[in-house]
Amino acid sequence: MTFEPKIVGFLCNWCSYAGADKAGASQMQYPPNVNVIRVMCSGRVDPQLVLKSFKAGADGVLILACHPKDCHYKEGNYRAASRNRVLLQLLQQFGIPEERCRFDYVSAGEGERFSKVIGETVEAVRALGPLELQ
């Protein structure tokens, strides 16, 4: 049986969640492995939420934000991007590769990009297998 990864996706309300809606309204196909949580801003995603997702059984985490200069709150996406870069280095020290915690940008109009990012993330995590640390 193929391994079906569990992925938690934090999507910003203003861009990426609307992008997901757009993908849905356009009837685009993408794998069902990402459990979406709508947040008001990617800047609200406390790194604790990422770690708690892993602890709760997620094999991967995806954080989607507005493109640079498009943040509804002006700078939340820059904060989120910065936190993710630092978090990735920390995860590496614990033996978690960066493919398990992807940060990317999806705008409200980018339905196609949304389904592409979801597809790539699911395949990358599937290839890594279940999250188990030595």
């Binding site: 790194p47 770690l51 708690k52 602890k55 870069r85 630092v86 978090l87 920390l90 614990f94 978690i96």
Partner: protein
């Protein structure tokens, strides 16, 4: 004399600093002696393990247990002290959350031994001997306590009543706990952190704080910090923002950044994650706004490069209790 409640203090994988902190009560140690029969403390007294084993269960009123659980012996003593004590207190950051010893959890057991017994420049071990629990010699078999796969906090092995944070706990906080216990008033709910505040070290720090826009992260040996300005604002990783108060902000007072020994503030589960959250909030975003998506990553990577060991910086005292450490060894 026998009517006094018994007080004991045990060290597992610890450095002895917690015992010094207790003795640093100075003349108040006499008050401790007046209130308790201080009957077990391998660092200071000659009572033996067999004396403790001979006691009825729950005979010791309070045990202050310091040190993390690194070996089988530490684990055995944790169970013994739990059984013989009415109130078991995890004393100090090792037993509360693993402290420095738990950083060993970042490497597998074999790798730790290789570094300690073979690769360290100061080691002289031509036969490459690595300790094992049982060694046969002509006279018989020698035994050493087994080395556990991972360092545990006390509460990860036995039921703990209270936690006193700090590396080591500050004497005035130890005193406040002793007063609370001897006053006869009802104790806080089980599992509470005693001898600490609920907010962050920043609350006790007298330095001036403003809007933080950190362009560059620096280390203590790079420069001499301004004495009155927030250390984080000067680019030093001061963990105070993600650390429980109660120490009186002693380190920032002498121009040294907080390293986080009181653990996370009330309500925070993971000190390192909170610190990363804080770093995202204080980075100079103006410098990121004109950059392309990939350039943002490069810029932040450069920004963080001056901190060579993130796990060691953010979890110096709490790695055993960190969310990621709890994932180790879990099978799906």
């Amino acid at each position: 004399m026998g009517a006094k409640p018994k007080l004991s203090m045990y060290w597992a994988a610890s450095c002895g600093g917690c015992e010094i902190a207790l003795v640093n009560l100075n003349e108040k140690i006499l008050a401790v002696d007046a209130a308790f029969d201080f009957m077990f403390c391998p660092c200071l007294l000659d009572t033996k393990k067999k004396d403790i084993e001979a006691l009825p269960d729950g005979d010791i009123a309070i045990t202050l247990f310091n040190g993390s659980l690194r070996t089988e012996e530490n684990r055995e003593m944790a169970h013994l002290m739990r059984k013989k004590s009415k109130i078991l207190i995890a004393f100090g950051s090792c037993s509360s959350a693993g402290c420095v010893t738990a950083l060993g959890n970042l490497s597998p057991k074999g790798e730790n031994f290789k570094t300690i017994y073979l690769d360290s420049p100061s080691v002289d071990n031509p036969k490459g001997i690595i300790p094992t629990p049982h060694t046969t010699v002509p006279e018989g078999v020698l035994e050493l306590p087994a080395y556990l796969d991972r360092v545990k906090s006390l509460a990860q092995e036995v039921d703990v009543d209270y936690f006193i944070p700090g590396c080591p706990p500050e004497p005035h906080q130890i005193w406040s706990v002793i007063q609370a216990v001897t006053s006869g008033k009802p104790l806080p709910p089980k599992g509470s952190v005693l001898g600490g505040g609920t907010s962050s070290v920043c609350e006790e720090c007298s330095r001036t704080r403003g809007d933080k826009k950190i362009k560059e992260l620096r280390r203590t040996f790079d420069f001499k910090p301004e004495p009155d300005l927030c250390l984080l604002e000067q680019g030093l990783i001061c963990m105070g923002i993600a650390t429980r108060n109660g120490c009186g902000a002693l380190c920032p007072k002498v121009n040294m950044p907080c390293t986080g020994c009181y653990g996370p503030p009330e309500g925070v589960e993971d000190q390192g994650a909170k610190m990363i959250g804080a770093l995202g909030s204080i980075v100079d975003v103006e410098g990121l706004k004109e950059l392309k998506e990939e350039e943002i990553n490069t810029k932040v990577d450069e920004w963080i490069r001056s901190i060579p060991d993130l796990a060691g910086t953010f979890y110096k005292y709490t790695l055993a209790e960190s969310l990621l450490n709890q994932l180790k060894g879990r099978k799906k």
